[in-house]
């Protein structure tokens, strides 16, 4: 079933070009994806991310449940509002989804998962929750707006001055409740900003106020080039059930520190680690020749073949970049070849983070 967010009419009014994204009618852009991309790098832009599913987790065993469910360890979260990025793993270590979990109290968390995987995740969570004293409540009653860019917070406070006291002290990856809103200093662009969850019936008015404060509406197209420049994985493209986080550049999100914690997928990943023979590594590519790198293109290296998982044109760097799964042993600095149609184009291997806070890292 095709679904619409509470901001659908706002997108139409702003001449958004609507596409079907995971069965949601979403704006891909409002004219120029590149202009929207630059707005986020240089000033402030905003995205409708209401299609992502928020879930409230409550109950006496909430923390114990999440410590079992997630590859990252929510025990690290002790300050109210603090958030953590984690993978949701199968027993064999394959990635079911990636998500953000916000901590309020040890008996109250909020989880935000991808739109395309929401139903699958919900089924998995309910199955795993059966043995725990927890309640899971999907929050389809929310609108969520990501305001991103170096001037995002300032413009947000111009639109909503009364929220400033509640949100000014937030550090990155921390959220605060303000009336019935959740203001989180998070995002998916490599820039500063907030992600705001509001009651669905307020979302359009919030969007309008942000437009009036100079925040540029941005579509899913710019969201993708921004996250790619920031070196952030996209579920379903850079990793899925057939890949584990250790081979997807996400080893940093798998927390083995507490030997007593038994999370789903731990045994499979621990065995892989013990063999210390990861056949694949996950790195970035910068195209040296002219052209555009795309997902699924073959990469030829001295150590064997690899594959691009995400590729596009980087508006900030003005050249093509990609994330790629490569044979072990390929290291940053190496020059490899990518099969683009009938040609082999040269690309440089880099750490998979290309742009942060408006500046090139390559």
């Amino acid at each position: 079933m095709i679904q619409r967010t509470p901001l659908y009419d706002s997108h139409l009014a702003a001449h958004g070009r609507i596409v079907n994204f995971a069965d949601w009618e979403m704006p891909i852009n409002y004219g120029s994806q590149i202009e929207e991309h630059h707005a986020v790098r240089q000033d402030a832009g905003m995205f409708d991310v209401s299609h992502m599913l928020s879930l409230d987790l409550t109950g006496g065993e909430s923390q114990a449940f999440l410590r079992h469910l997630l590859a990252n360890d929510v025990a690290k979260l002790t300050v109210p509002g603090k958030a953590l990025y984690s993978c949701l793993l199968q027993k064999d270590g394959g990635v079911i989804d990636d998500l953000i979990v916000y901590f309020f109290t040890p008996t109250h968390y909020r989880i935000v998962v991808n739109a395309g995987t929401a139903e699958k995740d919900l089924g998995w969570l309910c199955l795993q929750a059966a043995d725990y004293a927890v309640n899971l409540k999907p929050r389809r009653d929310l609108g969520v707006i990501a305001v991103q860019g170096p001037r995002a917070r300032e413009r947000f406070w111009t639109a909503f001055p009364a929220s400033r006291a509640a949100s000014e002290a937030l550090v990155p990856f921390q959220a605060a409740e303000w009336n019935d809103w959740l203001i989180a200093r998070t995002g998916y662009t490599g820039e500063d900003g907030f992600e705001i969850s509001v009651p669905a019936d307020e979302a359009a008015a919030v969007w309008q106020k942000l437009v009036a404060a100079g925040v540029k509406p941005c579509g899913l197209g710019a969201r993708d080039t921004l996250r790619l420049e920031a070196g952030m994985n996209l579920y379903g493209q850079d990793m899925d059930e057939t890949q584990n986080p250790l081979e997807s550049g996400l080893a940093w999100t798998v927390d083995f520190k507490d030997a007593g914690r038994n999370f789903i997928g731990k045994q499979a990943l621990a065995e892989l680690r013990e063999r210390s023979a990861q056949p694949r590594t996950f790195l970035g590519l910068v195209l040296l020749d002219k052209g555009v790198l795309r997902a699924h293109q073959k990469v030829v290296t001295a150590q064997g073949e690899g594959e691009i998982t995400s590729g596009s044109f980087s508006p900030t760097l003005n050249q093509s970049i990609a994330l790629a799964r490569l044979p072990a042993g390929v290291a940053p600095g190496a020059v490899v070849e990518v099969a683009v149609r009938d040609k082999l184009l040269r690309a440089k291997v880099v750490k998979p983070s290309f742009v942060r806070h408006g500046k090139s890292l390559i």
Binding site: I28, N29, S32, Q33, I34, G221, T225, K290, G291, V292, R294, S312, F313, P315, S320, R341
Partner: protein, 126 residues
Amino acid sequence: MNIPADLKYTQSHEWIKQEADGTVTIGITDHAQEALGDIVFLELPEPGLMVKVGEECAVVESVKAASDIYAPLAGEVVARNEDAMGAPESVNQDAYAAWLFRLKPANPADLSLLLDAAAYEKVAAE
């Protein structure tokens, strides 16, 4: 929709202009550039290449995706737009000014087989 009446068109959204010297100039329509979004790279055929009707002979890459461009007529490539290769965004700015390549058609009469503006308008509306 911007569909000049003096041009010919294809089902695959190329426009074709008959030049006084017997060659034809080829580009993509305004409708096509809008659907593709920001164009960032053009791969155009080198002069001298012989192409068949419907043959893939150029690629227009937008931020979103790569799209093949098909030869609307058989013939020999006689020129390509180097300026547009250096500034691919010019195709977004004016798709009818930023041409891609020129052909010397093997059978100039085949031009009459292409769509006129009214027929293309129906294609673009689909």
